[in-house]
């Protein structure tokens, strides 16, 4: 049967929305190094990065005079299980290559972090704050968990997450806002996953496998003995994760 598309009122509709997507900032043209670093990153937090979309930022690399073949780079990124969905800061050649792969070209918009910082970390994964959502104003929902979160379980909270029970090794708690754990945190905790760099993690007993705020993370090995097993708060300062002992003053 033939139907006249104009008769179907809501067959489709174009809407505007905004996402926050991690950006991979490249600062070298050594493909082996990039591959190794990407593997390391993904292996540290496989659940977090699994099938994650990614924008490849070549501006810094091009400024440094690196010669990057975008087709090769995109292939490499796909190999580790990530999906390149855009290029920015590319040169003419790279943008053409991107379009060949049907990957859209983005322009570099006003950035809020100084590029200086990024030179030390190559490549780095960052989550861009979603401009459409202003976390301070948006009504924040709070999720309260009162049962233990066991190995293999995963909790996602749209706003803040408060956990009164333990979080086992092998469990994962994720929040777009802050995370509070009034117990032992042994699993992974990822706060500000939509890019809220103001998000914080608080816990009574830090034994986490991984902690992350807005995509900046540390694994268990990186947690110093001075904070392990202590009540702490964790926040971002100049893109670095700060872990602070919460001292009790009497």
């Amino acid at each position: 049967m033939l139907t006249d598309a104009s008769n179907i009122p809501f067959a489709l509709e174009l809407k505007s929305t905004s996402f926050s997507v991690p950006v991979l900032v490249i600062t070298t043209d050594d493909m082996d190094v990039i591959e190794q670093k990407l593997h390391d990153k993904v292996n540290q937090a496989p659940e977090f990065f699994k099938n994650s979309p990614l924008i490849l930022d070549l501006q810094e690399a091009n400024n440094q005079g690196c010669l990057i073949n975008f087709i090769e780079l995109a292939g490499l990124v796909r190999q580790v299980g990530l999906f390149p969905i855009g290029i920015r800061g590319g040169n003419e050649q790279q943008n053409k290559q991107a379009l060949q792969l049907q990957i859209p070209v983005h322009t570099v918009s006003g950035r809020d972090q100084p590029l200086e910082e990024k030179k030390q970390k190559s490549p780095s994964l960052e989550s861009e704050p979603n401009e459409a959502v202003i976390s301070n104003i948006a009504p924040s929902e709070t999720t309260l968990i009162t049962h233990p979160i066991r190995s293999g379980q995963r909790i996602y909270a749209k706003g803040d997450l408060i956990v009164l029970t333990q979080v086992s090794a092998g469990a994962e708690i994720i929040a777009e806002g802050n995370i509070h754990v009034y117990n032992t945190l042994r699993g992974r905790a990822l706060a500000g996953v939509q890019g809220d760099v103001e998000a914080r993690i608080f816990c009574f007993d830090l034994q986490a496998e991984l902690i992350s705020i807005a995509g900046n993370y540390k694994i268990s090995e990186d947690l110093g003995d001075s904070v392990k097993g202590k009540p702490v708060q964790i926040y971002l300062q100049d893109q670095a994760l700060i872990i602070k002992d919460i001292e009790l003053h009497h």
Binding site: H147, S151, T165, Q166, R186
Partner: protein, 268 residues
């Protein structure tokens, strides 16, 4: 009201079948009509531990497939006439069990029995899932080592999210910790986790500690649940567990190093 108890662990070889046989016998000996079901289709050995392997005619899968009635398949225990065993099939695979079929058999058992003990296979796949799905109480059998504790934790997560009670938003399954093959000597040497270590990680109500004991092997070789060996430490530990489950208050035993105690006494 009948209660369904699952004996589960995630990890294999930690003592689920030994425990199922012991507590089923313990409950029956205390006057409760009890059935114990082997969910380990393809690898049955509950019937060996119960010493009824030569009396198996029909099995759990036959009942599910309606090739035999429940009464034809249930084997009455030789030591206790309130205890019945529903053996697993040795010749089928795990796909022979269906949720609908298991539910039907359990419903029928509930009419006649006070306790139904489900001996789970290892793993978190279909067989283990079906064994725990209809449970009211879970005995989580754990050995004092890291991998066993981790698997128990995983299983606890599944009990809390993938059981019938969880799916229907009913009161959650009661979860109990059974720490088995415990050896205070090895804990002292740092080769094993202590009771406190395990409870710290799992934060679960401890129903009892079963010591590592030769009596367990002797019992399974003779086809009598170890709880009937009243002189043995493991037998007494299981008797304590049954009593605590039934609401009695009994102090924990077998946690401390006996030799250590004497050494302390005599300064040796």
């Amino acid at each position: 009201m009948a209660r369904i108890i699952v004996v589960t662990s995630g990890k294999g070889g930690v003592g689920k079948t030994t425990t199922s046989a012991a507590i089923a016998m313990g409950l029956a000996k205390r006057g409760h009509k009890t059935a114990v079901i082997d969910f380990d289709v393809g690898l049955r050995n509950l019937d060996l531990i119960m010493g009824c392997e030569r009396r198996v005619v029909y099995d759990f899968v036959n009942v599910i497939n309606e090739e035999a009635t429940l009464n034809q398949a249930l084997i009455r225990d030789k030591n206790c006439n309130l205890l019945y065993i529903l053996p697993a099939s040795q010749t089928r695979d795990k796909d022979a069990l269906s949720q609908e079929g298991v539910g039907r058999v359990l419903d029928e058992l509930k009419k006649d029995f006070k306790y139904i003990v489900c001996d789970s296979p290892a793993g978190i796949e279909k067989g283990a899932h079906l064994a725990m799905y209809f449970a009211d109480d879970a005995f989580v059998v754990t050995n004092p080592e890291v991998s066993s504790v981790r698997d128990s934790d995983r299983m606890l997560g599944l009990l809390a999210s993938k059981s019938r009670r969880a799916e229907q938003n009913e009161e959650p399954i009661n979860e109990f910790l059974l720490l088995t093959r415990y050896s205070p000597d090895r804990v002292k040497l740092g080769e094993m986790l202590s009771v406190d270590d395990v409870q710290d990680i799992l934060s679960l109500h401890l129903l009892g500690v079963i010591p590592e004991s030769k009596s367990v092997l002797n019992a399974s070789n003779s086809g009598t649940p170890v709880i009937l060996d009243e002189k043995s430490d493991a037998g007494q530990a299981y008797a304590d567990i049954v009593a605590r489950y039934l609401g009695e208050d009994r102090p924990h035993r077998f946690i401390d190093d006996k030799k250590g105690f004497f050494r302390k006494l005599f300064g040796g």
